[in-house]
């Protein structure tokens, strides 16, 4: 059930399998479904239910002058529909760094290389347009899939925050991975 029309969702960053498009309040029902889904939210640490009313509020224009967060819809090009969200949170404009997040909300699209492609588009955007110096990701130790993706893209392990999150009845480690502008631009040459 998806009545999203491509016409009102312009592409901001163009990829092969997917494009990154601005958030669209008309798809608030999908965002709500994804952020509450137990299988999806496990490692993105949404441990509080999120009502569609709150999601709509999140989509509305913010009053802040400097953005702390930039979020996109992941648009599947072939199937012509949104399948997840991604972007930067905790943007620190003074130190030029930000946290990258990717959430594929439709689980049938897992394992199709969409995570790495989304990350690469965002990394290009972060370094080449936003002038970030460093982009980092936070991964919880049981999330083996994301660990593999991080290394595949070229993120380097920075350190472990021991027993930093409580997931499924246990305290688990948070691993920090980072990538720097100079390395990224060099690797592309």
């Amino acid at each position: 059930m998806n009545d999203s029309k491509k016409d009102n969702n312009p592409t901001f960053l163009e990829g092969n399998l997917i494009n990154l498009c601005p958030l669209n309040i008309e798809n608030a029902n999908l965002y709500t479904k994804w952020s509450n889904d137990p299988g999806i939210r496990k490692y993105s640490r949404n441990i509080i239910p999120w009502s569609i009313d709150e999601v709509k509020k999140w989509c509305e224009a913010k009053e802040e002058r400097v953005k702390k967060e930039i979020a996109f819809e992941i648009w599947h090009r072939k199937d012509n529909k949104p399948i997840g969200s991604a972007g930067f949170s905790d943007i620190n404009w003074l130190n030029h760094n930000a946290n990258l997040f990717v959430e594929i909300g439709e689980s049938e699209y897992w394992g199709q290389d969409i995570g790495p492609e989304t990350s690469r588009l965002l990394i290009d955007y972060g370094f080449e347009e936003l002038n970030f110096h460093k982009i980092y990701i936070r991964i919880f130790s049981p999330n083996k899939q994301s660990l593999r993706v991080a290394e595949k893209i070229g993120f380097k392990f920075e350190g472990t925050l021991k027993e930093h999150a409580y997931i499924d009845g246990d305290f688990v480690d948070e691993l920090r991975f980072a990538i720097f502008k100079k390395n990224w631009l060099n690797s592309k040459k």
């Binding site: 509450n36 009502s51 569609i52």
Partner: protein
Amino acid sequence: MEKKANSNENKEVEGFPFIKGENIDLCPRNSKLVKTYIRWKNNPRVRKFSRNVFPSTVEEQKKGIEETGEGLRDHISLDVWYKKDQKPIGQIALSRIDWINGWANTSLQIGEPDYWNKDIGTEATKLLIEYAFNELNLNKLHGGFAIDNISSWSVAEKVGFKQEGVRRDAIYVDGRYVDNKIYLLMKEDWLTRKKD
């Protein structure tokens, strides 16, 4: 006569499951459902033991949903959706969450009397307990039930709550004071029980 849901009520509303169960899902609240909420909250049979002694309006319910605010909340309320019929039938909540001392109060209201005595309360409570201990890392849960509210405290006992005590004449229901049975469930006991 009791006001029932007409068959088209909420046909267009989606649940967005936050916790998935066998017969029910627990879903976030939704301002599109306020009319349903007030139908439950004002129903004399439903509100009898949940102590809604004041009339409940659409505006108040809307405000309640909007007022989630910043930071950590001390109240988490979820709608109980009956999967087979694809509709919301009640609410379950953790209230007065004390993050420092690790406890919260539990409450449950099946707003549609047609769904009473179907063991739905037991399933919903188990899902909420699992969430409170496994995701929120709380240490204990409380529940308080009027002594006449047999169906509610039976559910509590069934899932492993232990009676801690009785507050005498603590609740005024139907023209008289009745005792409030106080129940407690420790995380430790819940985990042991699950292993057995």
